[in-house]
């Protein structure tokens, strides 16, 4: 029996090869894409799950009530961790954590490493096993260092690194460290990354901030005792917070902040380790959201759904052509169950083939997927037993539903009905129409999403940011020279070149450079009995001129005036905060004895990501802070030559440092890499969705026109024109697309509106985003159906009537 089923199944599939191929193509693509997307989301969801102590490790954050509402952050001051552990019970282990670039020397090698300054508990809390060297407490000595396997290879090559001494430049001085252990490289799904780990006490800020509670610059992770819960600990820590932040709390009260519902102004909170990759503090509280991951997973399901709908519709329509066979089988004694198994089996064959091709497809596309979406996920993540089990279950359920539904319909028919070869249909097929509507609604939502994303990206790219981003190039000053002398040398080196217009430097980049770093530095002080917070930026002379900022009042820094080292230039937002009629000359208190005098106001410019509103900013000529980035403005002609000249000059000054220069517009582009990845994802998703929907529509139009051959013949015999017949055949489908649009537009609007709320500068949601996607779907649908229907409308009615 089985052999006979298989034989007839293969013959039927071959006879209807066009539909078989359409079905297989659709399902294979969908399976392939679904596998890739699932792989990506599982990879994301597995972040930080590899630590054996993950259930007890938390990151500490602090939330405070300001007069303008809640704020939250993860930066803590140096004495914080130690005091917390000794004053609040329940902490098993605690470590401070700050990441910085460290220029490392070994013999004649000189490499910039990503260094992590942590306390000695770090390696016993987190699961980065030591593969060589002292396993017990690799950071027990102040001058010991732990390097990763890759670093060992980079720094030592074939040599055995254990016990070797390396030098690291900290605060401009070379300090010796001894390599005590080699750990594994942090896995890709780890939010903690490092190339070398050193003791926290060695970090450049440590000495200066040892006793200070108001200098917050590092993160703190703690491991709670097994029986202590996060909520209990958060409550217990309140006394600690009230005691050590008394001054800040009083200032907040004075400025008119309202306490939170527990009556507190400052409160500690804990975020579980496995959540930190998904937690944002932008809204003033710890918001853990995996929605972007679920969006990707959802996309996988939508695409799979569309392909399945195609398959259901095609098999239902196809089966109506096999009614005689079914009737005959029944008169020969086939039972319902046997018919069900036969037809379901045919679907199963298609499914198995499609899954096979889908898996191949995902393996083939894996690499391009990884590059396109900047994902480091690989298919191997799907090989765990749970995932495989879930996948098998899912496939069984899908085949049962998708293959089983048409099979069930068929096996239910009565013998006489099916022998007549005609389904007693009441004209409409609700389920089929409903499924097509849902399919197109999904496609239209995705297309609208694409337009909105593209619109927002274009908006951000073209927005006037208040500075010259086309002609200015920035690069990090990473060499071993003092940054001020490096800039001075650069000026000398490039002097006299006609295409080099201006040179300056500052302590932060604009946008995100090739080094990928972004910093922020915030200064809070009391100004005339009122708390003021401002971002600060250390700049060199010519900063305003080089970047083309607009000076609204006052003057720029002047190298001929020594007193300018105690002057400040502020932006408009800062000026508003100071509430002075004439802000020039205002004194900003840096310490008891030291004041900065405001000498100028610049027009607000987007010094942070464009998604953020412009915050208060103060520019200082603070000679104690280092400069981290150099900026060079070049003439708009011969830009490539100028870049080469700058690179050559820098190479001469810092022969061992890498030149990572890029124009500011590229930097700005890099800040919305996430949006671009999302756009790429949604765009490809919508292309595939519309493609699959069209395959379905094409197949349906073929089957339906075939079923209506006789009707078309009759209409033509009594005088219908080709145009009217084409219209008749197309109309029903177009109605479905229109209904889909009506359903999809509000959904797309809602999603788009909510997503745009994340951006302070956002494109306006215009009706044409939706209209375009509706029209696009309609045009594609018409083209898909059109060819087929025109062909049957043109057919000779004698031919079509003869079939009866």
């Amino acid at each position: 029996m089985f052999k006979s089923y298989l034989k007839i199944a293969l013959r039927t599939l071959w006879k209807n090869r066009l539909f078989t191929i359409l079905g297989i193509v659709g399902l294979s693509v969908a399976f392939g894409i679904a596998i890739l997307l699932t792989m990506d989301s599982l990879h994301e969801l597995s972040f930080d799950k590899f630590h054996t102590n993950r259930d007890n490790i938390y990151q500490v954050y602090i939330k405070w009530q300001t007069p303008n509402g809640m704020e939250a952050g993860i930066s803590q001051p140096t004495p914080f961790a130690e005091t917390l552990q000794s004053e609040v019970s329940g902490v098993a282990k605690i470590t401070r954590h700050v990441e910085e670039e460290a220029l490392t020397f070994y013999k004649e090698k000189e490499i910039n490493l990503d260094a992590l300054y942590v306390d000695d508990a770090f390696f016993s809390m987190f699961s980065f096993p030591v593969v060589q060297g002292s396993k017990r407490n690799p950071l027990d000595d102040l001058s010991s260092a732990v390097i990763t396997e890759t670093t060992a290879q980079k720094l030592f090559g074939e040599e055995n690194p254990i016990g070797k001494t390396i030098n690291i430049q900290i605060n401009g001085k070379k300090e010796p460290f001894m390599v005590g252990a080699i750990s594994i490289d942090p896995p890709q799904e780890s939010s903690i990354e490092y190339e070398i780990a050193l003791r926290f006490e060695k970090n450049p800020e440590y000495a200066e901030t040892k006793e200070r509670w108001n200098a917050q610059y590092h993160e703190v992770f703690l491991q709670l005792e097994k029986e202590v819960s996060a909520e209990v600990f958060e409550k217990k820590s309140q006394a600690f917070t009230n005691l050590h932040y008394e001054g800040s709390i009083q200032n907040l009260k004075r400025d008119g902040a309202l306490p939170n519902k527990d009556g507190n102004y400052l409160q500690l909170g804990l975020v579980p380790l496995s959540d930190i990759n998904f937690t944002s503090y932008a809204k003033g509280f710890a918001e853990t959201s995996r929605s972007s991951v679920y969006l990707v997973l959802g996309l996988a399901f939508l695409i799979l759904f569309i392909a399945c709908v195609n398959f259901i519709n095609m098999s239902v329509a196809k089966s109506s052509q096999r009614l005689r066979e079914i009737g005959m089988r029944k008169t020969l004694g086939a039972e319902k169950r046997q018919l069900f198994i036969q037809f379901w089996g045919e679907s199963l064959i298609i499914f198995l083939v499609s899954i096979g091709i889908g898996i191949l497809l995902s393996l083939l596309l894996q690499e391009s997927f990884q590059t396109l979406f900047r994902s480091s996920a690989s298919v191997t993540i799907l090989l765990s037993s749970e995932v495989l089990l879930a996948a098998v279950l899912l496939v069984v359920v899908i085949t049962l539903l998708v293959g089983g539904y048409p099979a069930l319909q068929i096996s239910r028919l009565t013998t006489v009905q099916s022998l007549k070869g005609k389904l007693e249909s009441n004209g409409k097929n609700r389920l089929r129409d409903g499924l097509i509507v849902v399919q197109f609604a999904i496609a239209i939502v995705l297309i609208s999403g694409t337009f909105i994303l593209k619109g927002q990206i274009d908006y951000m790219r073209n927005k006037d940011l208040g500075y010259n981003k086309e002609q200015v190039l920035s690069f990090p000053l990473t060499g071993k020279r003092d940054s001020y002398s490096a800039v001075k040398l650069l000026r000398n080196e490039l002097a006299g070149k006609p295409d080099i217009l201006d040179i300056t430097a500052s302590s932060n980049n604009l946008g995100r450079g090739k080094d990928g770093s972004q910093y922020s530095s915030v200064w809070g002080f009391d100004y005339k009995e009122q708390g003021v917070r401002t971002n600060t930026l250390t700049v060199d002379y010519d900063y305003i001129k080089t970047l083309g900022l607009e000076l609204l009042q006052g003057r720029s820094f002047d190298s001929s005036r020594k007193s300018d080292e105690l002057s400040a230039i502020i932006n408009e937002s800062m000026a508003r905060q100071l509430r002075e009629d004439n802000v020039l000359g205002a004194q900003l208190p840096a310490s008891d004895s030291l004041n900065y005098t405001v000498i100028g106001v610049v027009k607000d410019y987007n010094f942070q990501d464009i998604s953020k509103a412009i915050e208060p900013l103060t520019l200082l000529l603070n000679r104690e802070e280092g400069l981290l980035y150099a900026y060079v403005k070049v003439a708009s002609s011969n830009m490539a030559n100028s870049v080469n000249a700058i690179e050559a000059a820098y190479k001469k000054i810092e022969p061992n440092a890498e030149f990572l220069g890029s124009f500011l517009d590229e930097n700005v582009d890099r800040t919305f890499r996430r949006e671009k990845t999302l756009a790429a994802l949604i765009t490809s998703g919508s292309v595939i969705a519309i493609l699959l929907s069209c395959i379905g529509l094409f197949a349906m139009s073929m089957l339906i026109t075939a079923q209506r051959t006789k009707e078309i013949g009759i209409r033509k015999v009594i005088g219908a024109s080709v145009a009217s017949v084409t219209y008749l055949l197309t109309k029903d489908f177009l109605k479905l697309v229109l209904i889909a649009f009506v359903i999809a537009a509000p959904i797309a609007w809602w999603f788009g509106h909510n997503w745009l709320q994340n951006y302070a500068n956002r494109v306006e949601l215009n009706w044409y985003f939706f209209a375009f996607s509706g029209v696009l779907a309609l045009v594609i649908a018409v083209l898909t159906i059109g060819l087929r229907t025109i062909k049957s409308a043109l057919a000779n009615p004698v031919e079509s009537l003869r079939t009866e």
Binding site: K7, R11, L332, A334, E335, T415, L419
Partner: protein, 221 residues
């Protein structure tokens, strides 16, 4: 007695009116009879045949087949009953297009769960008897209408039924092919004692049978 119909009614409701397809049909058929059902189009011939073949249900009356009361049986037992005792021949042959002659003949045996070797022997026997051994690997589309109907009759006979129901078996055939098929029916009836009920329009075909039942508007006349 092979089968007996008592006061059979079958109707459909259309626009609030009850339209009778079969009206008070009484009929008893002995084993070994060859009956022709005649009547104009729409008189209920095919419906009657479908009811006898248990492919269709009826609304009122009693139907006894051998010792079973068909009207009280569940669908599953009914299908076992006709699978066992009844073979069908159709005007448009209804061979399965995707199967060869051999496979078409084998199909009823598969549903009756015969063993492989047994099936082989029975199909070979049937091919031999109908002289179509040379055509066993052809598909229905490669045969003439007469040959297709020959296969259709062979398929109906392969399960050794007691009763063959033929719905206008020669309706699509030319006169020479018709005579062949009718001759075959006659031979089966006389030599193998198979009971046959055929629906036909043609007086000539009806003459092959032993008894004629006339229908008009769902009634016997």
């Amino acid at each position: 007695m092979l089968l007996e119909l008592k006061n059979i009614f079958k109707w459909v409701n259309s626009g609030g009116q009850r339209i009778f397809l079969l009206k008070d049909i009484n009929l008893s058929i002995e084993e070994g009879e060859f009956i022709s059902v005649m009547g104009p189009s729409g008189s209920g011939k095919s419906t009657l045949l479908n009811v006898i073949g248990m492919l269709d249900t009826f609304d009122e009356g009693e139907y006894h087949f051998l010792d079973e009361s068909v009207h009280t049986l569940k669908e599953k037992y009914r299908s076992n009953l006709y699978k066992e005792y009844i073979g069908f021949v159709f005007q448009s042959y209804h061979l399965l297009d995707d199967l060869t002659v051999y496979e078409n003949l084998e199909m009823p045996l598969l549903y009756k769960k015969y063993k492989g070797a047994e099936r082989k022997a029975m199909v070979a026997d049937m091919l031999d008897r109908f002289n179509i051994v040379g055509k066993k690997d052809l598909f229905p589309a490669q045969l003439s209408g007469g040959q297709q109907q020959l296969v259709g009759v062979a398929r109906a006979l392969i399960g050794k039924p007691k009763l063959i129901l033929a719905d206008e078996p020669t309706g699509n055939l030319n006169s020479q092919q018709s005579e062949e098929i009718m001759g075959l029916f006659k031979k089966l009836n006389e030599e193998d004692k198979v009971t046959i009920i055929q629906v036909t329009h043609s007086e000539k075909n009806a003459a092959y049978g032993s008894r004629i039942i006339n229908l008009l508007d769902g009634r016997r006349i």
